[in-house]
Symmetry: none
Subunit: 304 residues, 5 copies
């Protein structure tokens, strides 16, 4: 499988990385139906940690089985499958070599009493499970952000040395941020930028609203029209080294299919690299999920 010029150009931006990391990034970028386009769709299934099994899977009970998600990601032609340690251990041998996996190495849960996550996986786990990348969540704004940053700094250095890529989920939360502010444009761009500064290869953030949260930042956003989501995406991508890093956006809570499609079009039109889409797929019946993912692939290919 020859790398496309588009993917070659993306890989060239990771100029300090060893060929091992580039190989794993290439595996993700050349995988599935979007392989070679520079776009990607990742299936993340860590909602069991975040919200518990019933809230995550009872609407589609097949999804209690980790194999279900592997198979869904493969059958839909997605780029990668991301999950915590347990689910990858439960399927990594069966699906070895079929889809790149991302080991989510920290996790929170609904009952957490601090805005933080536990480190629940390691780079050694990623190696023995054949993963292409580790995934790590930071909560900029929280009281624990410095510690979280130090955790990923250490894990990411270890991962880079052994050829494993790093994906950072950057979710502003806690501290003085308002609830609305977590999704504000300035906040989202800043959160994405911090992940980039920390050395992430792939940055994962939420689609931002048109709100501006920070008083000191209002001036910089005034005078521009931020009502179009594609423009907001473009600003986030710009905030990730002017497009030198891969940026993917999460779909958030399950919602109507049309909204999901419009999000993807906006990500595409704003220059984002793709979607991390979990609940909106595995909480639908498999046929519907496959149809939705098929349509999303089409959108990222520019066919829709």
């Amino acid at each position: 499988m020859s790398i496309t010029p588009t993917v070659k150009a993306i890989l060239a931006n990771y100029e300090s990385d060893n060929p091992g990391v580039k190989t794993n990034l290439a595996r993700i970028l050349m995988q599935g139906r979007l392989g070679g386009t520079g776009k990607l769709i990742i299936l993340p299934v860590d909602q069991g940690f975040e919200h518990g099994p019933a809230r995550s899977f009872s609407v589609n009970p097949d999804a209690y089985d980790p194999h279900y998600h592997y198979q869904l990601a493969i059958d839909a032609g997605l780029s990668a499958y991301a999950a915590p340690l347990g689910p990858l251990e439960a399927g990594a041998a069966t699906f070895a070599g079929q889809i790149p996996t991302i080991l989510k190495v920290n996790s929170s849960n609904s009952w957490a009493t601090s805005i933080d996550q536990a480190v629940t996986g390691t780079v050694d786990d990623a190696l023995r499970l054949g993963c292409a990348a580790i995934g790590f969540t930071i909560y900029p704004g929280s009281d624990n952000i410095f510690e979280m940053m130090e955790e990923i700094r250490e894990m990411s250095a270890e991962a880079k040395a052994v050829g494993i890529a790093t994906v950072i989920w950057s979710y502003p939360r806690g501290g003085n941020l308002s609830k609305d502010g977590e999704l504000a444009l300035d906040v989202g761009a800043y959160a994405a930028h911090m992940a980039t500064l920390l050395g992430a290869h792939i940055i994962k953030v939420k689609l931002p609203s048109a709100n501006i949260e920070q008083k000191e930042a209002k001036a910089m956003y005034e005078g521009s029209d931020w009502s179009a989501q594609a423009d907001r995406v473009r600003h986030v991508v710009q905030s990730c080294f002017a497009g030198r890093r891969i940026v993917v956006f999460s779909g958030g809570a399950a919602k109507g299919a049309d909204a999901v499609y419009q999000d993807a079009r906006d990500i595409r039109d704003g220059g984002g690299n793709g979607s991390i889409i979990g609940r909106n797929t595995f909480q639908r019946p498999r046929d519907e999920a496959l149809a939705m993912l098929d349509k999303l692939v089409g959108i990222y290919k520019g066919e829709d």
Copy 2:
């Protein structure tokens, strides 16, 4: 890319290996034009170490450039490319993600005064260069065989822990073995068996002759007709845990194309998994080499 039942069955034989190793074996087995068939062709380019650059490359000067071999292996749709440290360092970024690589971690040369090799690469090198496997030569029969076995035991254990597969080149040589004996059937089967006992995932041996070298073994081979090469291949495969391990055969010195094709047919008919074919390809002009490899792929696919 879904694993085929054939490849799934092969992977199932590696029942003690972690998913990382299985993932890398799957990458090799699903790569290129033979992907999914359970057959494989590997391009090895360590002849520069063994015989020097002029004897290896002067007949086809483009082959002095390590990129040439990467591109040849990719364009021919091969399963993997094997080389020492230097050539992989010289191309691993350019060709990241395009073909699985095998880091040859020990090497000899024409001027060696002992039957041994130097360890010239490490598992860490394999990780940073994004390799799927390490390759190691043992010389059963030589005075240094115990030390060589201990070297690969250590490196292989390290590799298995981090999801890197192990290929052992098993070449009888030295000690009390006669020159003819190095290629004898009983010797080749024994050498292959030793590599298997050492825990190799892929065993690489030479195609054996019909000679029987060991006095004590003659009785076991008498009464059978070993004149057909396919039968000899079958015996070597049997000696590798009755087919539970992947066995590939080397073509030896450059020779006529028809002989190369017949070798491949015999390997295929005897149940071997494929060829490691170096000099017979890169010492031909690229067009001829591609034509030859195309024909070999066809043979392994059973079309010829």
Copy 3:
């Protein structure tokens, strides 16, 4: 399954060992049809390393498959199965929990030019493969004996710390020992004693002849009648801390069934703990092998 008083008494002799080692010794002693009797039969399959595959398996080709030996040992109700790394890797998952395994961690071969073995497995391998013990060969008398002793000292210490038992194969060979002397009574007793002194939990030696090899030892053996094999066994057992250590005897090359049975009766009557019996079983057709092992079990149970 409750430990029998007989086994409890044996375990009590290992008074410095941690409960992990005792647990693994108990697993062997409580396994199979001899479970609880204090007697044991171990199936060792490392002849492929020692003599090559054809000399080992061609007489019974099913035996090329490592699974064959696992199944034979299980179906015959034996106490443990011993083999090098490769064969255990090839079956350890399939047969997990069905029979205790002993990882043979060093190995020689027919072409060796020194009286030595290569270390081909590790305690880490034993742990990841779920083995109950490691097995190690020493060649008292050889030029390499000190190095071999140091190797097992190191590995055994590591094994004991993690609850893995140690079996030492003690085979006098090389140096100034005559060929006949290798089997002499004084030599066999001395070799067994050295293994015991090295801290082996289980000592494995050959059945000794009535010869006395060492000039200096002749006086001590004169005046006694050593013509009965059971008496010679008793002397070897006595040399292993007066029965405080488990001693098993090998049957040597394949031979007539009656000779095998008589050996077992002598081992039993001389107070030996059992047999390690390889070629005499797997080189027979499976039915014959099972019948022979059934009879041996009966002998050790005192029924024959």
Copy 4:
């Protein structure tokens, strides 16, 4: 490039440092248009971490790209470029060997709920990225100052052993310090002194006001006229081992060009070694920034 006597004299003050550290200090002091003068201008771009991307770069959108800053520093003939991990990873290969870099190894952000920073880079990162120095911020006065000091003590020791220089940003903040007090002369001199005591090779502080914050220190400053900024600079330099350490001053928030020039003249006249100037350059259009830096170089050369 021969070291000038001025630079030689500066290097001689670092009498306990190994030649590796001296080499890296020399690289900074011999670089660019001020090379050899003993003066230096460093471009620091960590404002993205501190204030977010929009507040840092939206006024000059080219500056979203990390390459922009490398190129600006090179084209302006500056002495070094300082940034966090991500931006250096994004440009270190492209600009290898063109300008000394300083890896900022800790970072805060606008949403921090404590006066502290996260350690976001390591000495190993500095080595693999070819950096001349690490940069570290301490907040004397904050509740976390002891921990911050211990972090830099550890990193600095590691850096010194491998020939990497240490730059400490010393910013009084938190605890009982008043907001005005953070810039007070006594406080700035004390903060600079603490960095010096911690073993920094280069000390970076803010230009102090004429305020005196500490009751206990007022007596020592009374009777002198501190209205001239150059005198205040001289006092800070004096506080850094009487000029035995390199001291550079930050320009603070973006402001009028004339103020920037006057600051530089005062730093020069007070015996300071130069400026760390970020926002005042990259937040201006590139042409204006180059013109400003050209003028600053002239000032430090005594031509203006």
Copy 5:
């Protein structure tokens, strides 16, 4: 100092190396009067080890002082200075930052009783002394070549991780090589190739004669005219990954100035990257040496 396109193109060939290594290679390639041309002249002073002080320095007693050589290399505008541990320790602080240094980490001497070298420096030494590279000699052909290769494999891996480049001196010697054969074209090309395969960044060999030493290689060289030294250089460069690696040639024993100049022209015309020239300079009076080096610089610049 902006990298020239020529140097950028050379650096791009080191595609697996981290920016630290690239930075140090760039430092060498941008240093001195040949900076930016892709050509380089290195001053090596390890003859004291090889031949003793009197044979090395008595003809020009100033050269007993290590500072003499630093100053000579700087004043002549050379690219780098290479020496063992002691001389670099004696001058690294005085000349910090003035010229890239190469720590020769192994050394032989006139009284050696084996064809081998002692490892006399480490990567840690290179870091604390501010060196750009380590230098290591291998003796292909010698009985100790495998051990030497294993030494540099280990040191080079360590060096690459911390951004230090590797120079390999490859000198065929010992074993079955004839004395004339050491300089034979086929032997020199093979030796250079081995250094390249081992992962050297810079390969240093002797200028080869037109002899062909190896029987098996004669056919490959027949039919071409190897009488022109430039053609022989071209073949050696070709043997180093077709020009993807920097190759420099040593001048050998002190000889007439015209011969030295002609060598340089041939190196240049054959596509070599430059000279390592020791005895031919420091064994001449300083003025003569500077004049000679000036002329050599001119030759490499194509002016002569």
